[in-house]
């Protein structure tokens, strides 16, 4: 019988989606680049200013401050998220009833709208009426300014970020852990390996791909998040928790400097690409030279 090979174009099926994709993903990126060379306050006509937005950004102390805050926020949150979700993943990797029920409690924060999450934590950390300070004072300590102390405020919002993301990352670890063949552990047991040795020499190296996903996704999520800071501190006290996306937001929608804000977003976008790319490269090298 003659083989029947049907070749079908089917491009038409992709057109509706690509219209929206172009309008709301591709076009904004092009427009962002264009706008960054203009000065525009929405009311008066756009004015071409060349590289002035960028040269001003270079000198903008608070812009650089916001980039540093974002870095601190991200690199404080990501290791904690990694450790917490790995511990949760290891503890809940079995498919028994107990694990299945308990996973829900850790994953749920990821499903809670971030505005509501921020509101809840703000109330928990309220200086005078919050539960946390009540516990602290009843143990004989002084109440803590969780959100009004510049150094502490950053830690507090990091804590909320960890709470939001840890359960989601836990699921990635569970999927990864379940993919490790039982035989590896059995062989190690015969050789008399302790639990810790098994974890260190078998589990961790075999989780390498999961580790990559968890770290990359955590960085991407943290570096861009501004809702938690917006709700809990609105960037304060001072500029202590003004992360870069929040600063850009303020420039655009409080000061109405749209060109300037576009230039700022462009730099934020480039930085997040560079981070993602570097992480990827480092990990690829590790995998090539790794034990797998």
């Amino acid at each position: 019988m003659k083989e029947l090979k049907i070749v079908k174009n089917r491009f038409i099926f992709t057109i509706p989606a690509f219209v929206f994709h172009f309008l709301f993903y591709i076009l904004p990126i092009i427009l962002m680049i264009v706008l960054s060379f203009f000065s525009w306050d929405l009311l008066s006509p756009m004015k071409y200013v060349g590289l002035r937005n960028f040269s001003q950004l270079m000198k903008d102390k608070w812009f650089w401050n916001s980039i540093i805050v974002s870095f601190k926020y991200t690199f404080l949150a990501v290791p904690i998220i990694f450790v917490v979700s790995l511990i949760l993943g290891v503890l809940l990797q079995e498919e028994d009833r107990f694990s299945k029920i308990m996973r829900v409690f850790f994953y749920w924060p990821y499903m809670i709208p971030m505005v509501a999450a921020g509101t809840m934590w703000k109330w928990l950390f309220s200086r005078n009426f919050g539960l946390v300070n009540y516990i602290i004072t009843s143990m004989g300590f002084k109440p803590v300014d969780w959100l009004d102390n510049p150094t502490l405020a950053l830690f507090t919002i990091v804590l909320v970020q960890v709470w939001v993301l840890a359960g989601f990352m836990m699921m990635l670890f569970i999927v990864g852990l379940q993919a490790i063949p039982e035989e590896f552990y059995e062989a190690a047991s015969i050789d008399g390996a302790t639990k810790f040795q098994k974890f260190w020499y078998i589990t961790l190296p075999l989780l390498k791909n999961t580790n990559i996903s968890v770290i990359t996704l955590s960085i991407a999520n943290c570096f861009r998040n501004f809702t938690i800071a917006y709700i809990m501190t609105t960037g304060g006290p001072g500029y202590a928790t003004t992360v870069a996306p929040l600063y850009v937001y303020q420039k655009a929608f409080t000061d109405f400097r749209l060109g300037y804000a576009s230039a700022g977003s462009l730099i934020v976008l480039l930085i997040s690409f560079v981070i993602a790319y570097t992480v990827r490269k480092v990990q690829e090298r590790e995998i090539e030279g790794g034990k797998i």
Binding site: N9, A17, F18, V115, T119, F253, L258
Partner: protein
Amino acid sequence: MRKTIVIILAVLFMIPVFWTVTSSFKSMSEIYKYPPTIFPKKISFEGYINIFKQSNFMRYLYNTLFVAIISTIITVFLCVSLGYGLAKGTFRHKDFFTEIVVITLFVTAQIIMVPLFVIIKQLGLMDSLWGLIIPAVFTPTGAFTAIQYMKDLPDEFLESAKVDGANEWQIFVKIVIPLSKPLIASLAIFSFTWRWNDFVLPLIVINSGKNFTIQLALATLQGQYGIPLNEILAFSVMSIIPTLIIFLLFQNLFMKGLSAGGLKY
């Protein structure tokens, strides 16, 4: 031992929710009492009654549901159709088209909010619910999931229909869509949740109170002076209930579903 640690951690994780829920049932005088009461001495529905009486809660609920439901329907259609075209089509530069979808996985509203604002304004969608729907119906995560799913669909199904003389559209409606039920279910559930929880888009698009979504209303409420705390907390509790119900119903889908490739958007 393992169970004890897990339970302690779960209790720690649930403290903010617990404290918010119990506080939301306190009267204003009790909420500001020191030392605070863990459980309300007298259960008061003051906060809940006030959000229905004084704020436009029903209006916000309607707006949010409208946006979430309409965008979900469109999202599902766009993603399934795109996934089918990209996975089963044979047009030129297909890999390039797939690649540009994957690249935009890294682009979120927070990063492109300024140009997005300009485009939405030019389209005349500012301060309208459609301004929350149209820019959000395409989601790279959903598209990516659909492409992966369609790749795994066996070609034989499509080809046998072709032999039977069905045209392209009939194949899509009668064969592809029924075979994509699991994909459609998870796209629908995720899309609804994303739209319900969204804050960034409403923040830049909506100005007038009558068009507020629940999340935007909750954020705005907190910026105003003199809004009683029990009302804000009751509002928070109300805002998490719908997604909680969906989450509990479709737990497995959530936890295993898009986890593998999922970014939040």
